[in-house]
């Protein structure tokens, strides 16, 4: 296949179109806008460091990454789904589901069996969504909205509406995933890092990863070049549910007991992190690395604002402003104009 054809069907990343208009001669402006989120992140770090010298202390950084790990693990999977041109709003209630299931099974069949059983059940849900969206081509927003509600109902029915707790909290090794350290680094961070690098390589360096980009960039073109679009979308959802199951494991292991609404609302925060990282909701653009940056930005903003003495909830307002600015600058750089052409 010639290089040109590959580029046309989206197998190779499309060359950036030359912007026309106000920014056309301003290479610097374009760079600023394209890498705006990294620059903003750097500015944030510098600002917070000046404001509070504890901000860059190793234990603080460790704490932030550790508390972001659960959100981060979920965001990794959602990145695949978003890249393939779909949405996943069900990850929050799916995370509640896996947390409740693993805690319940822990006492019934023991942790060794409970963990694979929970992964299998969660990935069955992911496969169901993947089948509906991938093979039946249903709208992913509505399907996952329906699954959000359905899985929430499933969790409530499963737990009988009660909270789930491990009976013997002291005597179980199950807490190792969420609470212990390995060579001085908390295990949740290690799992997050391991998963991020594995999925990052999968996305950037393998044929499968190129297929995900191709399907999200132009599904029809991908089909014509012999890519099984349905299967790619399907696997993205299964991958996402795998990440959700991992997040559920971390959550369950950290707290050893849980409400059945533990993941409620996380779906939109995860999506916010992915968007903040610069992934396009239209699909086909974004990377794992950028998503990790998005997750870290959310985490550090929350931490930094607290350290400079602002209320906990100020982070929501800052996140709001940053999300819109990040996406705005990104598309402004693409179209070469700051303001939208909408009449």
């Amino acid at each position: 296949m010639s290089e040109l054809t590959q580029e046309k069907i989206g197998l190779k990343s499309r060359r950036r179109e030359q912007p026309v208009g106000r920014f056309s001669n301003l290479k610097l402006g374009e760079i600023l806008a394209r890498q705006g989120i990294l620059i903003a992140f750097a500015l944030f770090l510098i600002g917070f460091t000046i404001a509070n010298d504890r901000f860059l202390a190793p234990d603080n950084i460790m704490g932030v990454v550790r508390s972001s790990a659960i959100l981060g693990v979920m965001a990794l999977g959602v990145t695949f789904v978003v890249l393939s041109g779909n949405l996943d709003l069900s990850v929050g209630s799916m995370m509640s589901f896996s947390t409740i299931v693993v805690l319940d099974l822990h006492d019934k069949i023991g942790p060794v069996l409970a963990i694979p059983a929970m992964f299998a059940m969660t990935m069955c849900l992911g496969a169901l969504i993947g089948f509906l969206v991938g093979y039946l081509r249903l709208n992913s927003l509505i399907v996952t909205l329906g699954m959000l509600s359905a899985i929430h109902g499933l969790t409530l029915t499963y737990s009988g509406g009660k909270n789930m707790d491990i009976a013997d909290k002291e005597g179980t090794w199950f807490s190792v995933f969420g609470q212990s350290d390995l060579v001085g680094i908390p295990v949740p961070i290690l799992i997050f890092a391991l998963l991020a690098s594995t999925l990052g390589i999968l996305l950037a360096k393998t044929p499968y990863g190129r297929k995900v980009y191709a399907v999200g960039g132009n599904g029809l073109a991908a089909t014509f070049s012999g890519i099984n679009r349905s299967r790619v979308v399907f696997t993205c959802y299964v991958l996402s549910s795998f990440c959700v199951a991992t997040a559920g494991l971390l959550q369950a292991s950290r707290s050893l007991g849980s409400q059945n609404t533990v993941g409620q609302g996380l779906e939109l925060e995860v999506l916010a992190a992915v968007i903040l990282g610069g992934a396009s909701l239209m699909g086909g653009s974004g990377t794992i690395f950028k998503t990790v940056i998005g997750v870290l930005i959310l985490g550090f903003i929350q931490n930094g604002l607290l350290l400079v003495g602002l209320q906990f909830y100020a982070q929501y307002i800052v996140t709001w402003i940053i999300i819109i600015l990040a996406v705005w600058l990104d598309i402004a750089a693409k179209r070469g104009k700051l303001w939208s052409p909408i009449a």
């Binding site: 709003l89 509906l132 039946l136 081509r137 249903l138 709208n139 927003l141 509505i142 399907v143 909205l145 329906g146 699954m147 959000l148 509600s149 359905a150 899985i151 929430h152 109902g153 499933l154 409530l156 029915t157 509406g161 029809l220 089909t223 679009r229 349905s230 409620q264 609302g265 939109l268 925060e269 999506l271 916010a272 968007i275 909701l281 209320q311 906990f312 909830y313 100020a314 982070q315 929501y316 307002i317 996140t319 709001w320 402003i321 999300i323 819109i324 996406v327 705005w328 598309i331 402004a332 179209r335 303001w339 939208s340 052409p341 909408i342 009449a343």
Partner: protein, 333 residues
């Protein structure tokens, strides 16, 4: 869409058929399973059902406009909560002290103004920056919720004004005040969408934005107005509900956006825009509320409601796909 064909008729009437089915099913099942002596189709029960449908219903009517216009609004739940706080808190502000009941219209006005301003902010950002409405309102959902929490921390905001409670609990011609709000809003928006230039333009924009622009329709202002309308309706919904309850938690209204979208989609409005009807949305809202009440009536756990609604939503999507697939030269790949 050709009017008058059987499939169009089926699609239009499907939600009402579903409601009739629910009524019959729960009445019959209730005879055998229910612990209560009352029939499901009791008049009081139905009136209460209308009243309970109002908060979601009023917002859903607004969401229909937004979705016909080709946008989406995820921030309605937060707008709802913030308006409720403004409503209840403004009645205790010292500058309005000693005004007696004259403070009620002022508090209402302030609450509704809050909704309109928040909606306008979303609309302006969507218009001027060209960022997708999904992202703008996703951000706003977090931001507005942040404002809610900044206002009063995690404490509930409470203020009971008995005149207001009496008004909200009043029944006129059998219907509760909140139901009248829902009826009035549905009628007004139906008129707006079907009989005015703005409404027809909103359909045109949602159907094909480029064509609408070429036809000389100014897309931006129409979107702005629609976002202001949904902001207004979200706060109106809060006014209808919190006038009676008198206490708002900062978490109130969470996940409302998802319930509302579910109702609108059940009513047959397309996410891609250009098609949909306010009356069908009302059907969607009633269907969900009937399901909630009906499952409770036959003694099923309330938890099964979520399960049922999720499955129904996906089933509707599947059905819709089967109905639409005919006649289209769809590429099977």
């Amino acid at each position: 869409m050709e009017p008058g064909t059987l499939s169009t008729f089926l699609k239009r009437g499907a939600i009402w058929g579903f409601i009739v089915f629910e009524l019959i099913f729960f009445s019959l099942a209730g005879e055998f399973l229910s612990f209560s002596d009352k029939a499901f189709m009791d008049l009081d029960n139905m009136l209460l059902l209308f009243k309970q449908s109002a908060p979601i219903g009023i917002i859903a009517v607004g969401m229909t406009i937004i979705m016909i216009n080709g946008n989406i609004d995820l921030s309605v739940g937060a707008t709802y909560a913030l308006s409720a706080i403004v409503l209840l808190d403004s009645m205790t502000w010292p500058m309005f002290a000693g005004m007696g009941n004259a403070v009620i219209p002022i508090a209402w006005g302030l609450a509704l103004l809050t909704g309109v301003v928040l909606g306008a902010l979303n609309g302006l950002i969507v218009w001027k920056t060209g960022v997708d409405a999904f992202i703008v309102t996703l951000g706003a959902m977090l931001g507005y919720r942040g404002l809610v929490f900044m206002y009063n921390g995690e404490q509930p905001t409470s203020h009971l004004n008995w005149t207001l409670v009496d008004f909200a609990e009043a029944q006129f011609l059998g219907l509760h005040t909140a139901t009248w709000f829902l009826v009035a809003v549905t009628a007004a928006v139906w008129f707006l969408m079907n009989k005015t230039v703005h409404g027809r333009n909103a359909y045109a924009i949602g159907d094909n934005r480029a064509a609408a622009t070429n036809a000389g329709i100014r897309v931006g202002p129409h979107m702005l107005i629609n976002f202001m309308i949904i902001g207004f309706l979200a706060s109106l919904s809060a006014v209808a509900f919190y006038s009676e309850s008198g206490s708002v938690n900062p978490n109130d209204g969470e996940l409302y956006e998802l319930w509302v979208i579910t109702a609108v989609v059940l009513g047959g409005t397309k996410l891609t825009g250009g098609a949909g009807s306010v009356l069908s949305t009302l059907g969607g809202v009633l269907a969900i509320q009937l399901l909630r009440k009906g499952l409770g009536h036959i003694g099923a756990d309330t938890e099964t409601v979520n399960l049922a609604i999720g499955i129904i939503l996906i089933a509707v999507l599947l059905l819709d796909r089967q109905l639409n697939i005919k006649g289209k030269e769809e590429l099977r790949v």
